[in-house]
């Protein structure tokens, strides 16, 4: 073996790695602080995310293939039966929608008589969940609608049963959605039965949420439906979020512990709705005491989710 060449390849890096590592550590520290504390690199992240769209696509391809193969082996009878079923449900829902339209116009009429603002209907687009967050400690999903479809950060995401979460990041073709069950997520809600306002926090468990800062004496019962209250301006008003599952009162504690089950099927749904709030003033009745300043993620930039 010719000594020179062999030695050259072995010691090729020389003393440089230490310097390079230092350089990389400094750049990383600057990037991390700029990203986590000052939110300055969103555009870079969005650009890289757009470039990584093929990776998302490849990651989702096996599941699509599986669906396609399953579709090949569905019989005509099954499809016909499903079609009938869907038609029947459509009819039922259409009848309900007819009634709803009349009620909505009547409601607006009444609101106008009382000199408060009209309630506009929300526009939605349908998206599909194409991936879930690889991080086991965060509850996020990726949907196949991005800034190209007009999706912006902060928009609410629903499924057929209730509120799922909000858009956290967008790239051209995909967006990342923070689910209501993530431990950094909070939604301002009110109970349908009596309008009691509170904040619903995620706690990292996909099947349960926490209703916080409800006084011991408040009128709340198991089975109460909690809908988004629209306070804070981030989530549209009136979508079901959760149902109170368990109330535990600890003597001596000022607040009760309330557990709620999310209405949305956070780990099952594959089709979701992205809500575009109509332009208009925020709800007139949004000035209750103490509840407008939820801890995280909401109310920071009111109005950012609005697209016409």
């Amino acid at each position: 073996m010719a000594g020179g060449a062999a030695i050259k390849t072995i010691f090729v890096q020389g003393p440089v790695p230490g310097f390079r590592l230092l350089l990389v550590i400094v750049i990383s520290a600057v990037l991390i602080v700029a990203d986590a504390r000052f939110d300055r690199v969103t555009s870079v992240r969005s650009a890289i995310g757009t470039g990584l769209a093929p990776v998302h696509w490849l990651g989702n391809a096996p599941y699509e293939l599986q669906d396609w193969v399953a579709g090949l082996f569905t019989t005509r009878d099954d499809l016909l039966a499903e079609n009938e079923d869907l038609k029947a449900r459509l009819l039922i829902l259409e009848r309900r929608a007819l009634k709803y339209a009349a009620l909505a116009s009547e409601n607006n009429e009444l609101r106008r008589l009382m000199n408060s603002s009209e309630v506009l209907d929300d526009r939605v687009i349908v998206g599909e969940i194409v991936g879930v967050s690889p991080d086991p400690f965060s509850h996020e999903v990726i949907i196949n609608k991005g800034s190209r479809d007009g999706v912006t950060v902060g928009q609410a995401i629903l499924d057929a049963h209730g509120l799922m979460g909000q858009v956290q990041q967008t790239s051209s073709f995909t967006s990342r959605v923070l689910l209501v069950s993530d431990s950094s997520h909070a939604v301002p809600v009110e109970a349908v039965r009596n309008g009691l306002r509170a904040i619903l926090l995620g706690n990292g468990d996909i099947n349960s949420l926490e209703l916080v800062h409800v006084p011991d004496t408040a009128d709340i019962r198991e089975g109460d439906l909690l809908v988004s209250s629209g306070l804070g301006g981030r989530f549209p008003k009136g979508y079901p979020v959760a149902e109170v599952a368990r109330i535990t009162k600890e003597p001596g504690e000022p607040f009760v512990n309330i557990e709620a089950t999310p209405k949305a099927r956070l780990n099952q749904s594959s089709l979701v709705l992205v809500v575009f709030s109509p332009d208009g003033e925020p709800d007139a009745d949004g000035n209750g005491p103490g509840q407008e300043d939820p801890p995280v993620n909401i109310g920071l930039e009111p109005g950012t989710g609005e697209v016409r």
Binding site: Q13, R20, L31, V55, G59
Partner: protein
């Protein structure tokens, strides 16, 4: 160290590692998913220290940051640290038998995961106990397969 490496294999392995880090793993078992990208960084700095170094590892880590939605730079930094440590020990590493290499993979990827979770917790993530070390363990278990597979591909196509 290999005498030749195949660049297509190199690119393909990185892309596949990124795909595997977001997909193709049973739901509910995410804590046990091997750190595929970390393994690739380990393999390529180990086998081709002249071509694959700290800066490339850092770039690969940034891509993982975007996929995982961690603050930009967290995984980049951790991957660069793996590359640096492999560069410092790769002459000894080449002499090690496979079980000892697996141990080194566990140690280095453990350091990687520890760094990532330390930074995340500093920025306010939840404390997850020691369960963040699972990926390091599973990576160490799949290391022999990955290493032999990529060695063979490199020899055939390089």
């Amino acid at each position: 160290m290999l005498s030749v490496i195949s660049y297509p294999v190199f690119a393909l392995s990185l892309i596949l590692a990124l795909v595997f880090s977001i997909s193709l793993f049973p739901m509910g078992w995410f804590e046990f998913r091997p750190e595929w990208l970390g393994l690739m960084v380990f393999y390529w700095t180990f086998r081709a220290p002249a071509q694959f170094g700290i800066l490339l590892a850092w770039c690969a880590g940034l891509l993982l940051d975007v996929l995982e939605a961690t603050p930009l730079g967290v995984n980049g930094l951790a991957m660069a640290v793996i590359a640096f440590l492999v560069l410092t020990i790769h002459q000894r590493l080449r002499m090690y038998p496979m079980p000892q290499q697996c141990l080194m993979v566990f140690l280095l990827l453990g350091i990687n995961q520890m760094l990532v979770h330390f930074i995340k917790q500093t920025l306010g993530a939840e404390d997850a106990g020691f369960s963040y070390l699972w990926p390091a363990l599973t990576s160490a278990l799949v290391w022999p397969v990955v290493c032999i597979l990529l060695d063979n591909l490199n020899r055939k196509l390089g």
